[in-house]
């Protein structure tokens, strides 16, 4: 018979294996690598005096570099961004979660205190973290934290800690993380040229603001160039650019919203047509200088919510940026993975009103332009590309007013042909990459001119 008494307890101690499993489960390998890059970037900003990272800031990050090597043999990331102090390592960087009294770097992005641990556990079993930094009196110090994961997992008894050992100094003040004994997922991914190319693309996009300020990020010996973010400006096209202050839980947040035409809308809105450029269009959400949501076309940034239509290929060409800058990252609308937006955040919801305004203006313009296509194309071609930093402040987006022509009743043609023949005909019309719709139209016009002749 079970005797229940005051001394009877149900055990509730966590195990290390459970923890490691939980924190690595819901984040992708790519996002883990971005977390490590974030730490390096935070280091660089710290070295530069922890400045706010709005668009207007002219900070120069060209002194800083982050070198990443990823192959089936192992992973490493090495920076020259100042290093982690011994105190940080001993008391903060390796604990799971932030202590209440822990200092929060101003304008940093790390909030939940698990980025580095999560990343290294996701990557592999043999981890070596080394840091060289300068004390306040300018002496250089170096230490390392080696982690043999299988051994560490064996003992669940508290305290959960890692050894800190002496190590040889790095050439520059910074952090180096080396992981071998890769997890099967990391092994397979680093063996895939497509994964590595996509990693480069994601870095180029998500860190474009930093890369354009001179930061160097190198993946497998190839430097990653930032995406140039440009909006088109002219007498008739002016992007919206506004800035205001807001508050979240008593903390100050600066909000900037920029939106407008980055490229002319596509010739065809057919969903069958592919368009490389579509990947760049939509809304970007930036928190303390890091893009956390890129080229979003989903209800995350508002498309398809509250009388705001769902994204359609017709709207391609639109780029919007909403930047949140806060001394305390807790105020930012981030999820724990830092790869997405917390859509319940009040400051984000308030910013969405402005995002909706400019998106709806754009949607209206793309609808109207269908009735005045030639006029629209001329005006669009006349608008010059301007880097996002240089966009003139403007309280609402300005788009041309077009004179629509009466709508003709049209016949829609839909048929299938072999891809090889389609490409050959595209080539004959002058461009092997001509969209299928254009080849169809050109072949119709060609036959019409030949056989009918009249306008």
């Amino acid at each position: 018979m079970v005797v229940v008494g005051a001394d009877k307890k149900a055990l509730a101690n966590p195990t290390k294996a459970f923890f490691v499993n939980m924190i690595t489960r819901d984040i992708t390998l790519e996002d883990c690598i971005l977390d490590l890059i974030d730490n390096s970037v935070d280091g660089a900003w710290r070295c530069e005096g922890s400045l706010p990272m709005g668009l207007a800031v002219t900070a120069d990050l060209s002194k800083y570099s982050i070198m990443i090597s990823a192959s089936p043999d192992g992973f490493s990331i090495k920076d020259n961004c100042g290093g982690m102090t011994f105190d940080d390592a001993a008391n903060h960087a390796f604990s799971f979660g932030r202590h209440a009294d822990q200092r929060q770097d101003a304008y940093s992005i790390g909030v939940y205190g698990i980025g580095m641990k999560r990343a290294v556990f996701k990557l592999g079993a043999d981890i070596y973290i080394r840091s060289t930094y300068r004390e306040p009196d300018a002496t250089r110090q170096t230490f390392a934290v080696p982690i043999a994961v299988p051994d560490w997992l064996k003992n669940d008894a508290p305290p959960w800690d890692f050894d800190i050992v002496e190590a040889e100094a790095l050439a520059d003040d910074g952090v180096e993380i080396v992981v071998t004994g890769l997890t099967p997922g990391a092994f397979a991914s680093f063996d895939s040229p497509a994964f590595l190319q996509n990693l480069r693309r994601t870095i180029a996009r998500d860190y474009t603001l930093h890369l354009n300020r001179g930061l160097k990020i190198v993946v497998n010996d190839i430097e990653v160039p930032g995406w140039p973010i440009e909006l088109r400006q002219s007498a008739e096209f002016a992007p919206m650019r506004i800035e205001y202050s807001d508050h979240q839980d008593g903390l100050d947040v600066k909000v900037e919203v920029i939106g407008g035409m980055s490229a002319p809308p596509p010739e065809s809105a057919d969903p069958d047509e592919e368009d490389d450029g579509e990947k760049r269009f939509g809304w970007y959400v930036v928190c303390n200088g890091r893009i956390v949501l890129a080229a979003d076309k989903t209800n995350m940034s508002g498309w398809g919510t509250e009388d705001w239509p769902q994204w359609h290929r017709q709207y391609s060409g639109f780029v919007g940026f909403v930047l949140f800058t806060a001394a305390n990252a807790v105020a930012l609308p981030l999820t724990t993975t830092k790869r997405s937006v917390d859509t319940t955040s009040e400051i984000y919801r308030r910013a969405r009103r402005h995002m909706r305004e400019v998106s709806k203006e754009w949607i209206h313009y793309t609808n109207v332009r269908k009735q005045a296509l030639e006029e629209a194309k001329q005006k669009e071609a006349a608008a010059a590309a301007v880097p996002i930093y240089a966009v003139t402040p403007q309280s609402s987006v300005k788009l041309p007013i077009l004179t629509s022509r009466p709508v003709q009743r049209l016949a829609n043609v839909n048929y299938s042909v072999s891809i090889a023949k389609m490409r050959k005909l595209a080539r004959a019309f002058g461009d092997i990459n001509l969209p299928y719709r254009e080849v169809g139209l050109s072949s119709f016009n060609y036959a019409y001119d030949d056989m009918v002749g009249e306008e």
């Binding site: 190319q197 891809i419 490409r423």
Partner: protein, 314 residues
């Protein structure tokens, strides 16, 4: 010069040498990997040259040829060289799907070599994806395709076309220069191997894809042959060691461009080989004729694999 002494131009020495290199390579792999009961799959056409080599050099019995053309199929069946060659009528995509489920072959390693006349396009890409997804462990997958730059569009259109057809593995900043003339074949070979490796990783094949073959050759038009091994997890190291050994011959640094020689020229040059020193142009002249330096070098490197037949033309 008597016309019967001229090696028939259509015999394509470049293609012949490339084929021999590949089969020599696979024969070497047979010493290391579990390739008993290997089967062969390819586009035999009406000549079945690769099928003959598979049977004679590799000891393969069960072989499958794919032919989509109606008359070609009829002629292929007629010309089938051995009792254990089965000729299938249809497009490669459909026939391969049938073979994946064929009890005779689905648990045995394949050597599959799809030799396309045309350029790497969506159909080639889809076939590659299908093979990497479905062939049994320890299989060897090879493709040959047209590498001529003009087949991929005008110069300014080629990078975009390449990015479209190869997808994520193609760098966004692919330059026009990388898609011209000789560099085009190098770009295509690299991207095709990257594509295969990425497919195997994406589809989580336990042993991944080990690149093993990369040959650019030219008779009239530059062609690209690439391929590799899809080993079991346990055989990955063996496969990688085999293809990185100093005597592994299937990654020639230079394209295989073999001179078209008369029989007399070929026999005369051959009589000077093998030799450790380079066969120089002076020596060739002293033998009574002349050739370009690259042609002499190519002959010296590949003379063992030269097509050794003549055809009476007149």
């Amino acid at each position: 010069m008597a016309s019967f002494e001229v090696v028939n131009y259509s015999l394509r020495p470049g293609k012949t040498i490339q084929r021999q290199i590949i089969f020599d390579g696979v024969r070497a792999l047979q010493q290391h990997l579990e390739l008993k009961h290997l089967i062969y799959v390819g586009f035999g056409s009406i000549w079945f040259t690769d099928f003959v080599l598979a049977h004679k050099l590799l000891g393969v019995d069960d072989m499958f040829s794919i032919e989509s053309d109606d008359i070609g199929y009829c002629r292929a069946k007629f010309n089938s060289p051995y009792a254990t060659v089965r000729v299938y009528h249809g497009l490669s995509s459909a026939v391969l799907s049938t073979l994946y489920n064929d009890d005779l072959v689905r648990r045995r390693p394949w050597m599959v070599w799809l030799d396309y006349d045309y350029e790497f396009d969506e159909t080639v890409r889809d076939d590659v994806r299908s093979l990497i997804e479905n062939v049994p462990a320890n299989s060897i997958v090879l493709i040959t395709f047209n590498g001529k730059d003009a087949k991929y569009g005008d110069a300014s259109d080629r990078p975009r076309r390449i990015r479209h057809v190869f997808g994520d593995v193609a760098p966004d900043d692919l330059l026009k220069d990388q898609c011209r003339e000789g560099r085009m074949q190098e770009t295509l070979a690299n991207l095709a191997l990257d594509f295969m490796k990425s497919m195997a990783a994406e589809l989580r094949r336990p042993g991944g894809f080990v690149p093993a073959f990369r040959i650019i050759y030219k008779d009239t038009t530059p062609m690209v042959t690439v391929g590799g091994i899809l080993p079991t997890k346990g055989a990955v190291k063996i496969a990688m060691d085999a293809v990185s050994a100093p005597n592994w011959c299937c990654f020639p640094e230079k394209p295989v461009v073999a001179p078209h020689l008369t029989l007399r020229e070929a026999v005369t040059l051959q009589s000077q080989l093998p030799r450790t020193e380079k066969l120089s142009r002076d020596i060739v002249k002293s033998l009574g004729f002349d050739l370009e330096e690259e042609q002499i070098e190519a002959f010296q490197r590949y003379y063992r694999m030269y097509p050794a037949f003549a055809q009476i033309v007149a």
